[in-house]
């Protein structure tokens, strides 16, 4: 993770309760200057609350927040110099585009010429300088999104926060904005936190992803690591597709375990003890047709084949109804047909094992 001394924004031991409900439970997070970290999780996991705590719109029950070495835990939002782009954009309807972008600078009583220059710069960055005198109501959703960003950027905040900022846009526009936003944030070297429940957005945009569940950060790592080396069953399930097979640990040796399941015996990296209930899992990309794809193999019949262009997603029904998902390249999937028997194999190094949850929630 990140060295605490280099971190620009540090959240340490933050706890937040609403009545009896603990929304955030001793959360730690350190973000380097210029880094974009995504808080990813299902609704109710506490990601938006964490964002609001950083912005100062909510106060924590315990813990500290520092930005650039300054303790901001009790500082009100207007003295934090933190920019927020809200899900609803929250543009001021009584002001023009330029009026919205200038708002933060006017509140700070900056000289007129300086405000005008900053507004022009911010609008240029989002490619909307030609709309400066328009009323807000005349803008499309994508344009409003950019103006909300320009307004937050104009005051040169220490940290930029995005609360589900792209989720109101339609799919094409959203993907375009993801790339656009990434470009802008790189250009100005902004430190940013991005809250989303959309895993694709998180994988596309982030330097690191913090996967959140039940008020805790389950894993905070680079997108590739989150996907290929999930640290918990929750991360595995929440990000990307996977095949998961429940079983019992039969043998454990030197960081390798053997798990006995209804589908067969699988080897995985792990430290569980023999007799423990475990779930072995892998990602669909690692499965190959035949026996030479790796040390773990299973057989079953093909339930469905979903054509995805360059690849095919094949759902295989193994013993006792267990489902295995394989993402196969076009030529590998060419001869397959629904109902046919199939043998699949995958490498031991890409097989994960997690302790099985106590009871199904």
């Amino acid at each position: 993770m990140i060295d605490g001394t280099a971190a620009h924004l540090v959240v340490s031991g933050i706890t937040k309760r609403f009545a009896a409900l603990t929304v955030l439970d001793r959360v730690d997070l350190a973000i380097a200057r210029g880094e974009l970290v995504t808080l990813l999780g299902p609704s109710g996991c506490g990601k938006t609350t964490l964002l609001r705590l950083v912005a100062g719109l909510t106060l924590p029950d315990n813990g500290h927040i520092t930005i650039a070495g300054r303790d901001l835990t009790k500082v009100p939002p207007h003295r934090r110099n933190v920019g927020v782009v809200f899900q609803s954009y929250a543009l001021f309807p009584h002001l023009t585009v330029a009026g919205n972008v200038a708002f933060g600078l006017n509140v700070r009583r900056r000289p007129k010429s300086e405000v005008a220059a900053a507004v022009h710069r911010a609008l240029q960055l989002v490619h909307l300088e030609h709309l400066a005198e328009r009323p807000i109501a005349a803008l499309s959703g994508g344009q409003q999104q950019r103006i909300a960003l320009a307004r937050a950027l104009a005051v040169e905040p220490d940290v930029l926060l995005f609360d589900e900022a792209l989720s109101a846009l339609d799919r094409n526009l959203r993907e375009e904005m993801q790339i656009e936003l990434r470009r802008i944030l790189r250009e100005i070297g902004a430190t940013a936190i991005f809250v989303t429940h959309d895993q694709d957005e998180a994988l596309t945009m982030s330097d690191r992803i913090a996967v959140m569940n039940h008020g805790r950060i389950e894993q905070c790592a680079r997108p590739r690591e989150i996907y290929t080396r999930p640290a918990s069953l929750f991360t595995l399930q929440f990000v990307g597709l996977s095949s998961r097979i429940a079983g019992t640990v039969a043998a454990s040796d030197n960081g390798r375990i053997q798990v006995e399941t209804p589908v067969g015996r699988f080897e995985a990296a792990g430290t569980l003890a023999p007799g423990d209930r475990a779930i072995v899992a892998t990602r669909p990309e690692y499965l190959r047709v035949g026996s030479d794809g790796g040390g773990n193999t299973a057989t079953g019949t093909i339930r469905t084949i979903v054509y995805q262009g360059s690849r095919c997603l094949v759902d295989v029904e193994a013993a006792s109804g267990q489902s295995l998902l394989a993402s196969l390249s076009g030529d590998q999937a060419a001869d397959l047909s629904t109902g046919a028997p199939i043998r699949l194999s995958w490498p031991v190094t890409e097989t994960f094992a997690f302790p099985a949850p106590e009871a199904r929630p």
């Binding site: 207007h78 933190v82 929250a90 001021f92 009584h94 708002f103 109501a137």
Partner: protein, 266 residues
Amino acid sequence: MSARFAIAIAWTAAILAAAFLLLPLAVIAAASFSPTPVFDLPITGASLRWYGRIGSLDGFWPALGLSLMIACVATVVSLILGTVAAIAIAQGRMPGAEAISTALVAPLMLPGLVLGIALLNYFRALGLTATTTSLLLAHLIITLPYVARTMIAGLARFDFTLIEAARTLGCSWHQAILKVMVPALAPSYLTAALFSFLASFDNYPVSIFLTDARTKTLPIKMLQYIDEAPDPTIAALSTLILLATILLLFVSDRVVGLHRMAGTGE
């Protein structure tokens, strides 16, 4: 064919209804220009002499002053109280918010006479005998429902995230209210103020119970003038009040647009 016929009937009915509503006002306006003390048709000429007489009506200026003062003070106080109450209701974390919002609007449904008698007894029981003070309090009860109703509706559509956005951009809480909420709600404020002012200014049934021989509001004084000397001076005064109201509506329309005030358009 039958649809066009039905539309034609609807139009006719609408025009007749509008004429029925507006014709008395036209008659008053016509009467105010009558050259003779007794108004009769057909009109034989036009004169402004009755307008000149308004100022010399007995006790006119004090009554006008009192009515304007009460309408203004009641409106300003209701705007503040109504907004604060509406914020509490719109934020919705208060138990019984629905009941409170109904109670705030309830005086609108009460007959003015009932409210007048009730307030008279209530103020007597409290030992409140100062006429101006009791008039002010009574008019506050008359105007507050108009303001509360408009502000509750306005705030229900107000996005409180705007306040948070303003705060992250450097506004303290009260700055955010003044710079963002007040301008965003300007149409609601204007509507509320207009209705409140007019409701207070032309109130008769409540005021009649609370005025005394020396302290009278304009509507009460006007009725007294009609009893004493029914000449077109009162018609002239009525026409002036009508013109002032039209001017007020016209300016409001220019500033925010009547359709925005009525909440029927974006």
